[in-house]
């Protein structure tokens, strides 16, 4: 393994590495966002409670939806994404929907992330004090209004670190999609390595590139997190605020 050789290879194959990075970021970002949307819906469904006032049909529908969502979550969290990828691509995504491997990759990462996001969202919803939804209901808000205006904004804020972590995980985990020939960074690296019969240098470059992507992403997420926790206000400080700040620093 020689660093000069690695630097040389990096310059020579820059277009291929850059292409791999683009595909990796495209799939992990879109997969995380679509996964988040799936998670919001599924996590939201799982947070709906069966209430004593519900009619038989309502409570049946709720229980049925709960059962479906648990099956989805358990199956996709309980099997490796590499296996999900192979199975879904060859059974469904390619033959039935005619998707190419990159779009199939987006679908697979989305569905997989959705299962994790659903649990993150559900935990986020549960972390919001019950008093918040009681107050919303006491104003006459429907469960849907209470969820979208009061509970979810707070749940998402609470769950933001965990959601961001999913994105970082996805940047790394999209590498398993090479098994269905998605031309992401790992696949491109392997292609370069195979063509020159050298493995150490290309994969060293690959490791550095993955690290830069995750490191930068983590910093950006931390910055957003700080902004979220910063309560925007323009009102003059009073005694209470001073106390609160001091407590926060201790």
């Amino acid at each position: 393994m020689s660093f000069t050789k690695a630097w040389e290879l990096f310059q020579t194959y820059l277009p291929l590495f850059a292409y791999g990075i683009r595909i990796t970021l495209f799939i992990s970002l879109s997969g995380t966002i679509i996964g988040l949307l799936i998670g919001l819906v599924v996590g939201g469904i799982r947070a709906i409670k069966v209430e004593p006032r519900d009619s038989f049909l309502q409570s049946f529908c709720k229980r049925f939806a709960h059962a479906l969502t648990s099956i989805y979550i358990e199956v996709f969290r309980g099997t490796p994404m590499i296996v999900q990828g192979m199975f879904l691509y060859h059974s469904l995504l390619k033959p039935v929907f005619g998707l190419n491997s990159v779009w199939a990759g987006v679908v697979i990462v989305s569905i997989n992330t959705g299962a994790y996001m659903a649990e993150i969202i559900r935990a986020g919803i549960q972390s919001v004090d019950i008093g918040q939804s009681e107050a919303a209901r006491s104003l006459g808000m429907t469960p849907m209004q209470s969820m979208t205006h009061i509970i979810l904004p707070q749940a998402i804020k609470n769950a933001f670190p965990a959601m961001g972590n999913e994105f970082v995980v996805n940047i790394k985990d999209t590498s398993v999609l090479n098994v269905i020939s998605v031309t992401e960074l790992y696949f491109e690296t392997a292609k370069i390595a195979g063509s020159i019969f050298r493995y150490a240098e290309p994969f060293f470059i690959s490791a550095v590139l993955y690290f830069i992507m995750t490191f930068v992403t983590t910093r950006i997420l931390r910055f957003i997190e700080k902004r979220l926790n910063h309560t925007a206000s323009s009102y003059p400080t009073s005694q209470t605020v001073v106390e609160a700040t001091v407590k926060g620093q201790l």
Binding site: P52, G140, Q145, T231, A232, S238, T240
Partner: protein, 246 residues
Amino acid sequence: MVETILEIKDLEKSFGNLKVLRGINFSLRQSEVVCLIGASGSGKSTLLRCVNLLETPDGGQILFKGSDILSGAIDVNVHRQKIGMVFQQFNLFNNMNVLKNCMIGPMQVLKKSEAQAKEKALHFLNKVGMLDFAKASPLQISGGQKQRVAIARALCMDPEVLLFDEPTSALDPEIVDEVLSVIRDLAKEGLTMMIVTHEMAFARDVSDYVVFMDQGVICEAGKPEVLFTKPTQERTRAFLSRVLHH
């Protein structure tokens, strides 16, 4: 003839094997202020929460202006619009500032325009003395201030009945009065209110009548000057001597 706004008949509620309410009969007329007193666990808060269906009773009737809210024929969300509630833990929405807290109900539920909702919110914030804090986050203000905002938020819905669930129990003793004086003002204006409280002097002062609850039943109810000075029930006497002399 003053209109009866709320009538509760044989109300029962259990949590598992625990019977919390065991046949409550009670009525509330327009502009009346009722304080519910009693030891912790006597069912006061549960009774209050049944009135706006935060708890679903197991038996009995709750008639709001003559129609049974437990019959299933009424829309729970529409019913709750008419019943305001102020909580022990304030429960201000932490994701919005004081002003938005007061505007969200009128805008989302009553479908008021933003301008109308804002005007009303500012009016009631001014009334509870919190106008200067309209832009503040609930995380930045004290307990007494939070509770005053919570009262303004409830008032913005123009409720026909306002329920208070131990509004001062989570407050430091020296700021209890700032909240109680707001409630006193509302009583003077003729708002119909049901108040669960441990503040006996306040209850005596503000109520049209006082209800003493014990072990899930109404043990004694009457005008405050009678109930506090000449209680007829032994249990009432025991409770009052415990809370008034220590």
